[in-house]
Symmetry: D3
């Protein structure tokens, strides 16, 4: 059984010891998903940071935006592919499969997004995502113009950039803590 | 005058049009710093995201932690050096100068942290920061053990990782929006 | 449906036009697997090269060796992960799942093999594989000694090296021809 | 005498112990070339793999193709230059010198192919070779179109790709076994 | 006080022991600058090499050329930024500030020259500088043509190349000897 | 004839138009070597820079030093290998062959110095050279200690560093001007 049996190598507090608001979220996760995502458990070592993380995450991934929820998950997976982040690839690969109903799309995003036959707008978004992740210091007006050509507004570019930027944060938290994804993600929506 | 005259290439809303809570923060910044940091102005294009950003930022950089505020700023600058992020190097380089009272320390963090003669604990923290920023997929137990050897607890490692991870987010927002630092930072605490 | 609908962008001959020996292999694949692997179809553009490819492949992956068949498939996937080869990751990821009965092992090999808790012998084999794939000019006695320490004989090192080397060949054929994996691999053994 | 005195660090069986078919090939090599290429000796540790290697090699380098034999050797050397493979650079550098009658061409292919003033078709082939070797995951339609513009057919692109792919295999075998080139290559056709 | 207190880790001879011509230069430096630049002190370990270094330096940086002195200093800083050379960034960053009267220009050159809004001719010069520093083997006619388009003559291209090449030398001397910049540079012309 | 027929793409003045001191050097080169090295011809576009270049070159490569002349040429070739500089590999590869009387040594230095079986002192020197060339910002005390362990004094380390640094200069001049080596080097001392 080569998958690690820890949630985070930094350790995870007993859920029963958490503040009430967090326990309520735990309960809601179990109700909706059947489990508490390990990223929350790992972050609960530092409760206020967890609260901020969840609030930021929810705004970026779920609030109204010119990018669809599927597109935001595609961005999440492409960032995680560049950073070879196991946790995020497994968890958000599952989200791409679920939201798209296309298991192969999830695989393509995780393994090499360039093989997917995507609408040019989405391809431009993912090319921007890759460059912003791997060589942010080279982003320039040409890159932003490519997005505007495909109809992205300033707000859309902001949201795209922040989604990519956020997973550059979360990938590093997952790597730093050797976060292990919940087993449920692996088989979901195949 | 080669420094750009925009705050963000995505545009910045008129401050007078912002919600009251944000205008109050603007006023407080002017009172305390003499200016509104351009990262806030740039983020105000998406007000709720700005609120989350400030809340996360304040927790990571100012809340109690096993890492001193200066150490957190040093981490911020080393991440930004790896990512060659002009905005963050200028703004947080100034913070290192201010908190340390050592202008050269700020320069060393921005240009090549390896030249600084630091206590081994800080050097280990910055080596971890550099690796987590540039090759997060290679972080392993050996890297974490090096931190524990210098006395970092699990919570300290969490805080170190999240500080580094956060500036991997903010560097990318600055690059994506071509954020220009406030001129005040350049001369401060030289 | 973002997965491409071609098998190879260089085109694939009508199976009915192939020589009898190849048609017999096609029939045997359908009987055993339910389909003809697309790598064979893509290679049939150049029939003698296909014959050589299959013969080499069968020897490397199936003939007696000090490396188990599962270990050889793990090597195949790790090479393909380094080279971000979609075809080989999908096809050989499925093989790892099938031979190990552990779907997560397949994912770990494809996404970042370092997260897997493997016996040290297998970890050493995969570290060698990664280095031989990404910086072959740096392989030296230290790398080979690490393998011998874990019990690999000269013949085992030869077989490990040739397995890794072979997928460095096949990854490049898949990328050069934009080879698309058979859909059957995606869901197999999840 | 800094050149190693081994043929392969994994050891080489006594030629007299090899199967008759291989001994016959050894004899033919001595007759034609004056020596047995060390790559064959190194591979004879695993006789069936040697047979497959020779058969694949002969088809790729000698069978009819839209690429001339010299062009295939140029590809071999450029791959080996990217991978800094001493054995293949020495052996195939000599082949370029012999087939072209131009010693400098061999040097340019080995050291930096971009300095050579080549027909645009050959330059396009070598640019494709370099990219397929160093970043195979980035190969796309634009790269293939550049080849078609210079008259390469689908079969030609296949052959070019397989030649490059094959030396990505053989370079890694040479590096993994620290294969030493026969001294005869060094002075040949200077 | 994290800045090192040595001038060079290889040691520096007592100034009083130097030949008269060098002592005269030392005196002139003190008179003009207020101090002897540490690069001279570090180089005085090998006096004749110091003489050659100064002569080359003076010709490249001060002799008549199609590039202004400020442009040459900008090139110096951009090379040093690519090579993350602390000594040269501090010393020549100060020179850019002094010659331009624009402290921010010095910061932009040191941290990421791409953020500066420069005349296209200067931007082309710095793009050439960056490429010549980081991947000299890829420089080709297209790169030189970009310079000619902005009016650079053959002599100007020569001078630009030699300036960039020279700082690739001096950066490596500074890194090899861990040269520490004189403190005076830090605050100058802020 | 794929070798370029220019000496430098920036053009070369008529030798008859050069100052007397340079014409005298030209004559001496012809007398001693049979030809004027093209690097001198290329540099004669800017005569005073040529004088400085020759003086620096002669001191570094020919003056008394703890490094033998052969060792300095080995360093020159290894730097040029890292930078894939055709001119310097051809010219200084010939020098290694001549000074060592070992043609294979020249090839190993140019293609991958790690295959050579060198005395540990020389291997340490070349490892330092490679690192100083490719990642100068990572050089630290450990690297210098490795040299001292093999008996290098501070002056020897200085000379080693300056030799490597100088070829980082000359490689870039050769690449920037597309300098073509004299044909005589190719066949010399094979």
């Amino acid at each position: 059984m080569p998958q690690p049996d820890h949630i985070s190598v930094l350790g995870v507090p007993d859920a029963a010891s958490l503040d009430d608001d967090l326990q309520a979220i735990w309960a809601k996760c179990v109700e909706k998903l059947g489990f508490v995502p390990n990223v929350y458990a790992a972050y609960s070592l530092r409760p206020q940071r967890l609260r901020n993380f969840m609030q930021t995450y929810n705004e970026i991934m779920l609030a109204p935006s010119g990018l669809s929820k599927l597109e935001r998950e595609m961005v999440a997976v492409v960032v995680s592919s560049a950073n070879r982040c196991y946790y995020c690839l497994v968890a958000h690969g599952a989200a791409v499969r679920r939201l798209s109903g296309d298991a192969e799309l999830g695989e393509m995003m995780a393994l090499n997004y360039r093989v997917a036959k995507l609408p040019p707008r989405q391809r431009a978004m993912l090319d921007f995502t890759w460059k912003l992740t791997t060589t942010p210091w080279l982003i320039d007006d040409v890159d932003r113009e490519a997005l505007r050509t495909h109809g992205l507004s300033s707000e859309d570019i902001f949201d795209l950039a922040e989604t990519a930027a956020f997973f550059n944060l979360s990938n590093r938290m997952a790597s730093a803590t050797e976060m292990t994804p919940n087993r449920e993600y692996h088989r979901a929506d195949r």
